[in-house]
Subunit: 249 residues, 2 copies
DNA sequence: AAAATTATTGCAGTTTTTTGCATGGAAATT
DNA sequence: AATTTCCATGCAAAAAACTGCAATAATTTT
């Protein structure tokens, strides 16, 4: 790994998480802490970050800019993303949908992970794109302005031709009786095909959406292999899903 | 292996992987590291890549940390974009490639314009996406990491099925004798098909690239209908192109 | 086609950059 | 106050970059 690459990664991480730890960076990039310290030194001289004991902070962090923007949900989504990441192994072929949870997942992908991601979600693709070891396949078709994902027969047909190891879906509603439900017709078409084209379906959602219902049916609960929320898997609210045979993380 | 070939290969590798290592290139092409270093030196002088200790990185790599990068060129590109926009009429079907000039064009699209844009360039799509009246068709395929555009047989085949009113190409080199030339094999394939699939081809470039040459041939000058630069159309340097029958704006 | 010119390449020696390690001291934690 | 963790400095080894130079290859001129 080149020095500049390393420093770019550090800046990326700082901007993403507002802080970095020297020892984390050191083990992630497999260089000594001295090297990290020297990198932080240089970057701080260039104003890219603020060096503190044990790591560094984002320069824009000191100004109290927390725009009261659903910090809780973001935190939850980050927890979900962390759990989801642990399922992805080197060399896997992964199909992902759109939505903020998936974008958070994209941001949390470890540096060394080598995998192929297939998606029609533009914001997710933008994140995958900046990862050094991820191959990205873009699903083309007409772009839906609201969901920022490509929808239509072309995308559908393309998904049909592949068989992915994993499929990550950010879901809008899940419910034991009705399974996964959603509110966008076009997006539902895609999700159904994505489920059919993957060996394992992993659903990501914040706990808030558990046991809720939306107008359009996506699939039965039996099609879901894994469910990830920010809660402890032993949590009471998740028990019915565990009992239904779903792996809950 | 010729110097030209070697350098084209290096550029290709940089565009594909975001980085190259001197010793890897050296052993891959069986030349000394000195030669590689001299190649990187030249390419870096031409802005094709950024030389760092141990190899080189894609130029788009540190565009992130210097936002006021190349302000002059940005100004030029904005002028070009303004001229280009004037060619687009309501209801048109427009095919666009990638590159910073095209992105600038995307940002300049007037609010009321209603048209359909087809592109495989992620940054361009991100811009189109935020426009209220533009329909966007995404060309899917494998994403090239630093040209940030989808390339491959799928994208090629898809373009082949359409016939656009206009095609906007940001070009890397134009020259009366050799026409349009470029340095990335995959991108060239797409550009050729885009030209073939459009009624009018409009080339955008900053004056700097006029009368220059790149290793790979895209098309003859006769295929170009319109050429847009930041210069006055009556400018001396553009005269040969006007004489060749090209509409120069 | 031959000769002259120019460009390109590899090599040897030197210099610079980068990195990891050791030491002693500073800062935080308990 | 003791202990652990983190930081600064100097140092040495390795890798990479630069320099000048000679040999070779490519291009142009005659």
């Amino acid at each position: 790994m080149l020095k500049r690459e390393r420093q770019a990664y550090i800046v990326h991480q700082v901007n993403l998480h507002n802080k970095v730890l020297s020892n984390t960076l050191s083990s992630e990039m497999e260089v000594s802490e001295d090297t990290i310290r020297r990198d932080l030194q240089e970057l701080s001289e260039n104003g890219k970050l603020i060096k503190v004991h044990g790591g560094a902070l984002s320069p824009s962090f000191n100004k109290i800019d927390s725009p009261h923007y659903d910090v809780y949900a973001l935190k939850s989504k980050r927890i979900i993303a962390k759990k989801a990441v642990s399922l992805i192994k080197d060399g896997m072929f992964v199909l992902t949908g759109g939505g903020t949870t998936i974008i958070e997942l994209a941001r949390c992908l470890p540096l060394h992970l080598q995998a192929t991601f297939v998606s029609g979600s533009i914001p997710a693709i933008v994140e995958y794109m900046s990862h050094p070891n991820i191959d990205v396949i873009v699903l083309g078709d007409k772009l839906s302005k609201v969901s920022k994902i490509t929808v239509g027969a072309d995308a559908h047909a393309r998904i049909k031709t592949i068989k992915a190891d994993l499929c990550f879906l950010g879901i809008n509603a899940i419910n034991l009786k009705h399974g996964i439900t959603d509110n966008d017709w076009d997006v539902v078409q895609l999700k159904q095909q994505m489920i059919a084209s993957s060996q394992r379906t992993v659903c990501l959602t914040i706990a808030e959406k558990i046991n809720s219902l939306q107008p359009i049916h996506v699939c039965d609960i039996s099609k879901v292999h894994t469910l990830i929320t920010e809660l402890d898997p032993a949590s009471e609210i998740l028990k019915p899903y565990v009992d239904a045979g779903i792996t809950v993380l």
